[in-house]
């Protein structure tokens, strides 16, 4: 049984800050099939198209029939823990600092045997439920959970390395004026975040929903206009060392594409707010987050972006906005690579049109801001990297995978 983790004490500046380290990172190209699955929280294994056998580790030919038709498919998660081992003096720096580290050999009901990280409540000879997770190197690993719920399950030491659970962490939500921002604050607080800083530009100006934020225990309104480089830098100078999770809720939605708009002024605003705002936030907060990636219970753990799913395929009705989102998506991959040495994960939430005033003209289904807030929390708790929130986003994901040209044509109407 797991002891609940305790709230971190005030940091002693005389003690060493534990520096981030990365678990072993090299993988074969084929093995990144697991990375893709882990990013979305799926459990996939290679399965032979010819004989139906499951295989693991990643292979180039089926060990049962030598077919090269091995495809990653969603696989049954249940297995049996055959044997376990506790590494006490690993040769790798990351594991050495976290030893003892418990691993096991799991025989999957669907056939293969998998070496996995073990949740502390896994018992030899008992069934386990497997998941694929991204470890602090950003690569996929197999993780075995007990089959049922156990007390304080999410507080498991090894599991917490795989996730960015808000519990006891300090979060910066960058835009408290938006409904998504306000819902995110509430959801993160409810998930156990110790402090939620809420960025508000010119906070002396009243705004809708202000009552939900002001004067609440554990919620601090801070001055932040992400599009303003100095504003971002000033705030980082103040709280940069205590932002463990950053949720970028910057929102700037305007309808229109290219030809029906005159000039670049609206496009420039979209770029200023979404793209350059992202750059300002990254430059202000990224370095400290990367440096604090292993700093105890409340180490910095994740950066969250909320992106339009039309970042993936342009929607001409909101064509320039889609382009600004595509720019942010590309930049998020750069940020992911640059935060990776700190073990800080970058999670992108893709949404369809949100149920707010700027999508007023768009017919339903639309995504409720609360659904996005809940997805942020569940993604952080599950250690995900890509999430598709709502039916529209999920549909776009599937259509894009099926035929990107068909999607492009059909978005034009």
């Amino acid at each position: 049984m797991i002891e609940p983790i305790k709230p971190p004490r005030r940091k002693n500046p005389l003690l060493r800050t534990r520096l981030p380290a990365s678990p072993p990172r090299p993988r074969s190209r084929t093995s990144h099939g697991f990375t893709r699955a882990a990013a979305e929280g799926r459990f996939m294994l290679q399965r032979c198209e010819a004989c139906g056998a499951f295989a693991y580790p990643a292979r180039e030919a089926c060990p049962s029939c030598l077919s090269s038709g091995l495809t990653f498919v969603d696989a049954p998660r249940r297995g049996m823990l055959l044997s376990e081992a506790t590494a006490r003096v690993p040769s790798d720096v990351y594991f050495r600092e976290r030893a003892p580290w418990r691993i096991g050999l799991v025989r999957m009901d669907c056939g293969p045997t998998i070496v996995a990280h073990l949740h502390a409540d896994c018992v030899e000879g008992a069934p386990v439920r497997m998941s694929l997770q991204l470890d602090k190197s950003g690569q996929a690993v197999a993780f075995a959970h007990p089959e049922g719920e156990t007390p304080n399950m999410a507080d498991d030491k090894q599991w917490r390395e795989m996730t960015a659970d808000p519990k006891f962490r300090r979060v910066l939500v960058t835009n408290g004026r938006s409904v998504i921002g306000q819902e995110a604050v509430a959801a993160l607080k409810a998930a156990g975040a110790r402090t939620v800083f809420v960025g508000v530009a010119e906070p002396w100006r009243p705004f809708a929903g202000e009552k939900l934020l002001r004067g609440q225990d554990g919620i601090e309104i801070v001055t932040l206009d992400a599009a303003d480089e100095k504003s971002a830098a000033d705030l980082a100078a103040d709280i940069g060392g205590k932002v463990d999770i950053l949720v970028n809720t910057t929102e700037y939605v305007r309808p229109g594409g290219l030809l029906d708009r005159r000039g670049t002024s609206i496009a420039r605003d979209e770029i200023d707010q979404a793209y350059l705002g992202f750059i300002n936030l990254a430059q202000a907060f990224g370095l400290a987050m990367r440096m604090r990636g292993a700093d105890g219970i409340n180490n910095s753990a994740a950066w969250v972006n909320i992106l339009s799913v039309y970042a993936l395929s342009n929607w001409p009705a909101f064509g320039a906005y889609s382009a600004s989102q595509a720019a942010c998506l590309s930049l998020s991959h750069c940020l992911r690579a640059e935060l990776r040495p700190g073990g800080v994960r970058v999670m992108n939430l893709f949404t369809g049109p949100v149920d707010t005033e700027w999508f007023q003209t768009v017919p339903p289904p639309k995504v409720a801001p609360r659904a996005i807030a809940q997805a942020i929390v569940s993604g952080l708790k599950g250690g995900l990297e890509e999430m598709y929130v709502g039916d529209v986003a999920e549909e776009i994901r599937q259509r894009l995978a099926a035929n990107p040209k068909a999607l492009e044509r059909e978005l034009d109407r």
Partner: protein, 392 residues
């Protein structure tokens, strides 16, 4: 498909057992250690380097070199060449190939050599770059290396067959007693069962004295025909039988037996001997529990009776079952791929009567086994050889 009958190793002999004494760390390269072994082979056999017309090499730390680079490096002109990357099974595998080469006159004198250096970070680098499955699906899990992988196997084996740490410890303790008689063994202090049991855990149930000590060193021998040895006046052991097997029992969910179990009938039939006839046995002891598994799989007792076998026998040089007489890898050290050669070379000295302080009296028939390559969840390679000294 049934296997056809194998050609006997008639007229094939092994000679000139060479050990270059081990050191814990070396600033020299693997090539340096292999060079020392070749030089010692030539000196011991009383031949010229140019008489060597076959070369078989194993090493983990040669960098970008393989056997071909070594021919030019050492000025050897050979007509038969092999590089064997089979870890702990390299010696038996090399011997098998060399034996057939000299038997078929593809070569007359084959030098079989294994050597590795041990820089302060060699061991970690070897762990990180061991195999694709290891890189993808083992090393990222706690980076415990072979210790963690064998811990999984050991724990399951011990639970399945009711084996205790004390049972396994008897093997390590006996080998330490042997090592104290081997001046080249790295371990110089006696080891009691109490000390063994009190050792710190490395990767439960693997504790400190279950682990080999990585080091630098080299081992070598020559393979030739009986007539060649006779013309050189070289004492030699006759090769009676060998087996080799890879990826055996793939359907066993966890490894409780090695490939030997598949082939021992052939091993003893080809040699025309029984397990009881052996005077000295050298197993591959990367972990004592693997040695216990070999006692079963090589036919000294039934599966599951390894612990009882160890309790019933004295495994020291003067005991009733002389085993790993040099101290084995557990007490002499594991010089990378040379660890595969350690038992075979020591067994060769035993049947030639040149083992000195570790000599088993009247030893004339020996078995040496190999085991290696924990590619993913189990050791894949296994092999064994039986050979007889001139007195038999």
């Amino acid at each position: 498909m049934t296997n056809s009958l194998r050609t006997p190793y008639d007229g094939v002999v092994i000679a000139a057992p060479v050990t270059i004494p081990y050191v814990r760390y070396s600033i020299e390269s693997a090539q340096w250690w292999i060079g020392r072994a070749l030089s010692a082979l030539v000196a011991q056999a009383g031949i010229k380097a140019s008489d060597i017309d076959g070369l078989c090499v194993s090493s983990f730390t040669m960098g970008t070199d393989s056997g071909i680079g070594l021919t030019q490096h050492f000025g050897l002109c050979v007509r038969w060449l092999d590089t064997i990357p089979l870890g702990g099974a390299s010696a038996v595998a090399g011997l098998r190939k060399a034996a057939r080469a000299v038997q078929a006159h593809d070569a007359d004198i084959v030098a079989c050599v294994a050597g590795d250096t041990n820089h302060v970070d060699s061991f970690r680098l070897t762990l990180e770059n061991f195999s694709r499955f290891n890189q993808d699906a083992v090393y990222p899990y706690g980076a415990g290396g072979a210790n963690a992988s064998f811990a999984l196997i050991a724990r399951n084996y011990m639970r399945t067959f009711g084996v205790t740490r004390e049972d396994v410890g008897r093997i390590a303790v006996a080998q330490r007693a042997n090592a104290l008689r081997n001046p080249h063994a790295l371990m110089k202090a006696p080891l009691t069962l109490e000390q063994y049991l009190a050792a710190r855990p490395i990767s439960d149930p693997i504790h400190l004295f279950d682990c080999v000590m990585p080091c630098a060193g080299a081992e070598a021998f020559l393979v030739m025909r009986e007539d060649t040895a006779a013309s050189l006046g070289l004492p030699a052991a006759r090769l009676l039988s060998t087996i080799e097997r890879h990826n055996a029992f793939a359907d066993d969910p966890m490894q409780v037996r090695g490939g030997w179990a598949m082939d021992i009938g052939e091993l003893y039939a080809m040699a025309g001997v029984k397990p009881d006839d052996l005077d000295v046995v050298q197993t591959y002891d990367d972990y004592p529990v693997i040695t216990m598994m070999q006692f079963e799989d090589l036919g000294f007792c039934k599966k599951g009776e390894g612990a009882e076998f160890v309790r019933q026998h004295d495994l020291t040089i003067d005991g009733d079952f002389p085993h790993n007489t040099s101290g084995g890898q557990l007490s002499a050290g594991q010089a990378g791929a040379a660890g595969a050669y350690l038992g075979l070379v020591e067994g060769l000295r035993q049947v030639l009567g040149t083992a000195g302080p570790t000599q088993v009296r009247n030893a004339s028939l020996a078995l040496a086994s190999g085991f290696g390559m924990i590619n993913y969840d189990r050791g894949l390679a296994s092999g064994a050889a039986i050979f007889a000294g001139p007195s038999r």
